[in-house]
Amino acid sequence: MSRVQGAIDKSQVLMLYRNLLKAGNKFADYNFREYAVRITKEDFRNNQNDTDGKAVEKNYQYGLDQLQLMRRQSTINQMYAQKMSFMDPRVSDDIRKKDEMSVGSRTNEEDDEH
């Protein structure tokens, strides 16, 4: 993995921010996607006034590692995704209405589940 060298300028941080949001938005799972976007925004907001070069460098490296992780995991998440969450904004209102009407496939078998 690439190591960060030298001072980090603002454009690099912005680029990382954009890339993280882009990677986070690629999760097929609605909940993972929302979480990735939420914590990315939070982390950048919390650290936006950092002036300590060392801390910025450390956080930047952390962000790069997270970016690689999110790219890998969102790809895997897409490969195995089967159904979208009911809450996913990509689900149309028609499908939502239909699913609310369906009785579901709950089995009422009496079993000795523990």
Partner: protein, 448 residues
């Protein structure tokens, strides 16, 4: 599917292609890669919103990312001493052990990996009881414990132990004075769960721990629902044994850990699983390195994000409880209002049958109590122990809130659930009587 795969392949071979790369590209053109189907007899096209986080949590992508290399690449047995496969796996396992230990403030040597909180609880209770049985034979636990603690205790009764099942107060918390009265010279162990899996109340661990320490009694806590969600420190809280579950803190299923104190006092236990003497002889069997690494990463992430997650869950939980109270009347939050882990919200919607409500809420994944007992129609024994009447216990739902829950989901469940509760109440003759001002407890029902 098979047919679609075979036809293009034969066609491609017939054309005598030059390279395998080309063969692959042809195949990809004809068949889309499809993952194994996991939905059986499903009628809906979307997955329900997940609100059953008390039953299990999704595996965090950061956890899966650490686990995968141990499945695809580094598959060595961590106990192999003669090659790199083993050494690497062992190093990974030991790093994970450190992460688990860091989260609860102990040393790595005090962590024993098990198959989950059920095994941890069994090992802790039966193991300690059997090791010290010649000296002491009395164990104290509570009526609202998880089934695996209660059942372990039942089995010990057969072996000649005396068990005290402490009642809880109406808010689900134990009475410390009562606990102190019950402790005798023969008392060996007190086992009280940290966060209740059904109602989310948080027992006063520190007070119980200090009391036990003062009286020379060992203190075990089932912290499956607490670790990684609220701060837990075994030294501050005087805990001697503590059970952890992997899949309740965004880790994999099938892995858990047991903390066993090594110093002041040194806790000894008779293992319930015998064999090759792994985990210091306390739990034999090959340590499942991918699962252990998953648990370790889940603990590391939990420690790193504890504050963020706790704040987020607390806000959503407050929003949900207030939302229900403002939309509906006769809504009762089960368990103490303050002394709780906010991620488990157990609410009774009076005059509505819980099962009917669950059926109506088919777009939300929920349960009326613990997953272990959801198959039976019996009201929850935890709610009954709190003194919740049988009819109210039947109307309760358990909502789980976690780091992946969104505010939009809470909004949806508030609206949908309130709508269904009102619809079901409209059909209920009981609710009509209540609206007319009749006190149901004074009604004399005719028996048939």
């Amino acid at each position: 599917m098979m047919k679609r795969l075979i036809t293009p392949l034969t066609r491609v071979t017939l054309r005598s292609l030059y390279s395998t790369a080309q063969v692959q590209s042809k195949v990809v053109q004809f068949t889309e890669p499809r993952a194994p189907e996991v939905y059986k007899n499903s009628e809906s096209s979307t997955k329900a919103i997940y609100f059953d986080l008390g039953a299990t949590t999704p595996v965090d992508p950061r956890v899966l990312d650490r686990m995968l290399p141990l499945y695809t690449d580094m598959y060595g047995n961590p106990h192999s001493r003669t090659h790199e496969y083993g050494w690497n796996s062992e190093a990974q396992v030991e790093e994970a052990r450190r992460h688990v230990a860091d989260l609860i403030g102990c040393t790595s040597k005090e962590i024993v990996f098990t198959s989950g909180a059920t095994e941890s609880n069994n090992t802790a209770i039966k193991g300690v009881a059997r090791f010290y049985k010649k000296k002491k034979n009395h164990i104290i636990t509570t009526q609202t414990e998880h089934k695996c603690v209660l059942d372990s205790c039942r089995h010990l009764e057969d072996e000649g132990f005396t068990i005290t099942y402490l009642p809880v107060k109406q808010n689900g918390l134990i009475d410390l004075d009562l606990l102190e009265q019950e402790i005798t010279d023969k008392t060996l162990l007190v086992s009280v769960m940290a966060v209740n899996n059904e109602i989310g109340v948080l027992q006063p661990l520190k007070d119980i721990g200090q009391l036990c320490r003062k009286r020379g009694v060992l203190f075990h806590t089932d912290a499956a629902q607490a670790v990684g969600k609220i701060p837990v420190n075994v030294d501050d809280m005087c805990i001697d044994l503590l059970s952890i579950s992997g899949h309740k803190l965004y880790g994999p299923k099938g892995i858990g850990a047991l903390y066993v104190r090594k110093n002041k006092p040194r806790v000894r236990l008779a293992p319930i699983i015998n064999g090759g003497g792994q985990e210091g002889g306390r739990r034999s069997g090959t340590v499942p390195s991918p699962l252990v690494v998953g648990l370790g990463e889940a603990c590391r992430v939990a420690k790193q994000d504890l504050e963020r997650d706790a704040k987020y869950v607390k806000e959503l939980s407050k929003y949900m409880i207030e939302g229900f109270r403002s939309r509906l009347d006769h809504v009762i939050l089960n368990g103490d209002e303050e002394q709780r882990y906010p991620g488990i919200v157990n609410i009774s919607f009076a005059y509505v049958e819980g099962e009917s409500l669950l059926m109506a809420l088919n777009t939300v994944a929920l349960s009326s109590g613990s997953a272990c007992t959801s198959a039976s129609l019996e009201p929850s024994y935890v709610l009954r122990a709190l003194g919740v009447s049988e009819d109210l216990a039947h109307t309760s739902l358990r909502f789980g809130i976690g780091r992946f829950t969104t505010k939009k989901e809470v909004d949806y469940v508030l609206d949908k659930c309130s709508f269904e509760v009102e619809r079901l109440r409209e059909m209920s003759p009981l609710y009509e009587m209540v609206k007319e001002g009749i006190d149901l407890s004074e009604v004399k029902w005719e028996h048939h």
